[in-house]
């Protein structure tokens, strides 16, 4: 297969994935599992691009722990694996296109209709749902977030700095990195035989 044909196939495949990603990127991971791990459905690249379940898990965990959107990272990794850097770019571009188009249309109408009374009323209801949605996601994040007791203090500290002193998020993430290194070094030296929790 010619290189350009591979890029095109990857692009189209990820356009398809991109159309069905409601509520975060996890549905793309599920779609990739069906297609590349279980081999269900028609792959755009027959005979190429298969993944073992463990590979997909690795892609996902690294995609999650690097900055940026998880699913963009996973698309980049997957494309790179199959067809090098430009394969990765093709996957990312394909994945981004459908949500960008949908959102551009919605934003256009939001801007045009924002003043309409009934839209404003519906949006007030929707706004009331945003805090519970973030709260439930936050509760989901709590699991595994506090590997060592001082991590609780890190959360308290960033909360205070963000809320009361308006410290920029960029600095708070850097602070989290430094404290993470310090905390881990401290605990790993204290009990070197304990692996990750």
């Amino acid at each position: 297969m010619k290189n350009s044909a591979v890029f095109w196939a990857l692009f189209l495949q990820f356009v398809k994935f991109g159309c069905f990603t409601f509520g975060g990127g996890w549905s793309i991971v599920a779609q990739m599992k069906q297609l590349y791990v279980d081999g269900e459905g028609q792959s755009a690249l027959p005979g190429r691009g298969k993944l073992a379940a463990a590979d997909l898990l690795d892609l996902t965990s690294i995609g999650r722990s690097l900055p940026g959107t998880m699913i963009g990272n996973i698309a980049m990794f997957y494309g790179y694996r199959v067809a090098g850097f430009w394969g990765g770019v093709a996957c990312v571009a394909g994945m981004v296109l459908p949500p960008a188009v949908v959102l551009a249309v919605i934003t256009y109408f939001y801007t045009a209709f924002r003043e309409a009374l009934w839209v404003a009323a519906a949006m007030r209801g929707v706004r009331a749902a945003v805090v519970p949605i973030i709260l439930s996601a936050l509760l989901g994040m709590l699991r595994g977030a506090f590997r060592y007791p001082p991590c609780l203090a890190v959360a308290g500290l960033t909360f205070a700095l963000y809320s009361f002193w308006n410290v920029s998020c960029v600095w708070l993430v850097v602070l989290g990195m430094v404290l993470g290194l310090l905390i881990c070094e401290f605990y790993e030296r204290k009990s070197p035989d304990v692996h990750s929790a």
């Binding site: 900055p67 963009g72 551009a104 209801g125 963000y162 993430v173």
Partner: protein, 181 residues
């Protein structure tokens, strides 16, 4: 042109310091409000719209904010910004994939970043609550009731987010449009 660069740069910052999903919200919120591109109420709207439509939250916020600020070129600039870590850092990581997979340093750094993100998200929850459940100095009881109902549906009955948002929109129409509360 200057606005496009500023948009791009804002979303580069957001991209590089966010680690998946809703941990982006504190950054998006402070960047948008400090530049005067959005009000706190509009930040809530993006979160809701982004959750209702396909695509990851970060990209949807980028499109929304970019469109609101500078139309299609703005959306392109913002999307490119939020994808910059993926196109740079992640491309490098892909080359050293095996090395990154079990990197101890990465695990250590994440040990600190996860709780830091939780702290920031908790902070943004408070500031969004002030916008969404208050009218001036008074608590808006209908809004609060919708919020509590949604929380129960989400946590207790595991109702999916698009459904919760649809229901809330209907309740909003009924309470604020129909009854005029």
């Amino acid at each position: 042109m200057f606005t496009l660069l500023k948009l791009y740069w804002s979303f580069v910052k957001i991209g590089f310091t966010s680690f998946g999903g809703l941990s982006m919200i504190p950054l998006i919120s402070s960047e948008m409000i400090s530049h005067g591109w959005m009000t706190a109420a509009e930040v809530s709207d993006i979160v809701a719209i982004a959750e209702m439509t396909p695509g990851p939250l970060g990209l949807n916020c980028a499109t929304f904010a970019g469109m609101r600020t500078a139309w299609l070129p703005g959306a392109a600039a913002a999307n490119l910004g939020v994808l910059t870590p993926t196109l740079t850092l992640c491309a490098v990581a892909a080359v050293f994939f095996e090395h990154f997979k079990n990197s101890r340093r990465l695990a250590q750094v994440m040990t600190g970043i996860r709780p830091a993100c939780i702290g920031m998200v908790a902070g943004v929850l408070i500031s969004l609550s002030q916008v969404n459940y208050f009218e001036g100095a008074h608590v808006s009881l209908p809004s609060l009731a919708v919020g509590v109902l949604d929380l129960v549906l989400l946590i207790k009955f595991k109702v999916s987010i698009p459904k919760v948002l649809g229901l809330s929109a209907l309740l909003g129409l009924l309470l604020f449009g129909g009854l005029g509360l």
